[in-house]
């Protein structure tokens, strides 16, 4: 059974069709790319999957359950996490605090216990330890006590990934994880994404403009243009597809 599938998913903004009739399929442990030129509707797809916006029509099935109309936090609780294209860290908090917040799903103590600090010390210690472990995996341990805003762009993107990982997802949505990274950082990111998928046994769906990254690590790629799927397949198939070349490079006027 597919981990994620969408059925004729569409989104219309004030008469403009941002996404139309999208059908995505993602299996367990897949690493899939979602690409397309600027304005093709990729982020809109992520927003619909993660519950940030409600699709105009269509369905999202995740892990055997219809999650189309669930609020964002419930979708996260069911095991889907995402990062944001325009980085949405909790800027004035430290990196460690950012990640600790993301362990929210696993907090078991009550409001009353929190107010009175009753038996929460070991819970808190566990959360801190898990958060540090995660930062270690992403190579951010030495940044744990830095304010998130003061990190470099590349590091901020990594913190976003760490934070998404902390919700312990089955499916990770990465929105342009390499944007603003230098080639060296991008290379490291590629290795990291592969490693995360193996070690944490999860599926990844990523939007990315850096074709080296997408072609380098994705097994399957879906290409969107004008909100429609124009191609699907392995990196080689997609790269050779004339419609894709046209969508990216365009055709000549004369």
């Amino acid at each position: 059974m597919a981990l994620l599938s969408t059925e004729s998913l569409s989104m219309t903004f004030g008469g403009l069709r941002a996404v139309s009739n999208l059908s995505l399929q993602l299996e367990m442990n897949d690493l899939q790319g979602l690409i397309g030129p600027n304005g093709a509707g990729k982020t809109t797809v992520f927003n619909m999957l993660s519950g940030m916006i409600k699709p105009t029509t269509g369905k999202v099935i995740f892990d055997g359950e219809d999650i189309t109309n669930l609020p964002a936090h419930q979708i996260t609780q069911r095991g889907m996490a995402r990062t944001f294209q325009n980085i949405r860290l909790f800027g004035s908090l430290t990196v460690l605090e950012n990640v600790k917040i993301a362990f929210h799903r696993h907090v078991t103590y009550s409001f009353m216990q929190a107010l009175l600090q009753l038996n929460i010390a070991h819970h808190e210690e566990n959360i801190t330890r898990s958060a540090m472990d995660l930062l270690d995996v992403l190579g951010l341990a030495d940044r744990a006590h830095h304010q998130a805003n003061n990190l470099s762009y590349g590091e901020q993107r990594l913190v976003e990934i760490a934070r998404a990982m902390a919700t312990q997802p089955k499916l990770l949505l990465l929105d342009e994880p390499a944007a603003g990274m230098n080639p060296h950082e991008t290379e490291q990111l590629m290795n990291l994404i592969g490693k995360i998928r193996r070690d944490f046994d999860l599926s990844v769906l990523l939007i990315e403009h850096d074709m080296n990254l997408v072609m380098g690590i994705c097994e399957r790629i879906t290409v969107l243009d004008y909100g429609m799927t124009i191609a699907e397949g392995s990196p080689e198939q997609v790269r050779a597809n004339p419609r894709v070349i046209e969508a990216y490079l365009g055709e000549e006027v004369v």
Partner: protein, 235 residues
């Protein structure tokens, strides 16, 4: 006509968007800036038109240093930008949008004449004169954005991704019109993701990668080079 010398632009803390970027645009040319998303194309245009301040470097337009001028003064100098995503005033009518393009001009007769010219160039806009601009289709909005910029009688017209989100047929039409505008005497600096199409109408081009110019040549040469393809689709 326009000379950009070694500009450096930073956003927030430490994001170095443009690195020592230089470029030249000569009178009567169509020059295109191409490159993948995030290469710094829009940042370059925004720096030239005064929306973004460079930390160092200079922008000289027709022997006048405009590096530190506010955006509205730069329009006055004869340089107008059609921003990315069109940015038309959706709540105002098509006609009012065009009138705002001519905001700095006082010659009523000439304004009326230019308005007529814009309507001839884009007959669809003429049909929708009194409609709120927000009700136009994407292609019509792009036409309006270009028409609005033309109303300021620019010496140099800068276009930021005019093809974004438009169907291929419309893109062709827009590019043909850009060519027509150029033939009528307006110099053009064109930022495009759609590299082939941009190169097919441009005289010269600059290829940008992560805030730097990595290659510059005549458009016909760039169209044949493999690097351009790689910059988009990866090697």
């Amino acid at each position: 006509m326009l000379s950009v010398q070694g500009i450096n632009v930073f956003y927030g803390k430490g994001i170095h968007a443009l690195k020592d970027l230089s470029l030249e645009v000569g009178q009567g040319e169509i020059v295109t800036l191409i490159g993948a998303n995030g290469a710094g194309k829009s940042s370059t245009l925004n720096t030239i038109s005064g929306l973004v301040r460079p930390r160092s470097g200079s922008v000289v337009f027709r022997d006048m240093d405009i590096t530190k001028l506010p955006a509205h003064k730069i329009v006055e100098a004869g340089l107008c930008q059609v921003p990315e995503g069109r940015r038309i005033f959706a709540n105002l009518t098509v006609q009012t949008n065009l009138e705002l393009g001519a905001y700095l001009r006082k010659d009523k007769a000439a304004i009326a004449r230019d308005m007529q010219r814009v309507y001839e160039l884009f007959p669809r806009l003429a049909e929708r004169k009194q409609q709120p601009a927000g009700t136009l289709s994407g292609g019509e909005q792009q036409m309006l954005a270009i028409g609005r910029a033309l109303m300021s009688q620019p010496q140099l017209l800068m276009l930021d991704e005019p093809s974004m989100g438009l169907a291929p047929l419309l893109v062709k039409e827009i590019f043909r019109i850009v060519q027509e505008i150029n033939r009528a005497g307006t110099t053009i600096l064109l930022v495009e993701q759609n590299a082939r199409m941009a190169l097919s109408i441009a005289h010269r081009g600059y290829v940008l990668e992560t805030g730097r110019v990595v290659m510059t040549d005549s458009a016909s040469v760039l169209a044949e080079v493999d690097e351009v393809r790689k910059a988009y689709l990866g090697g």
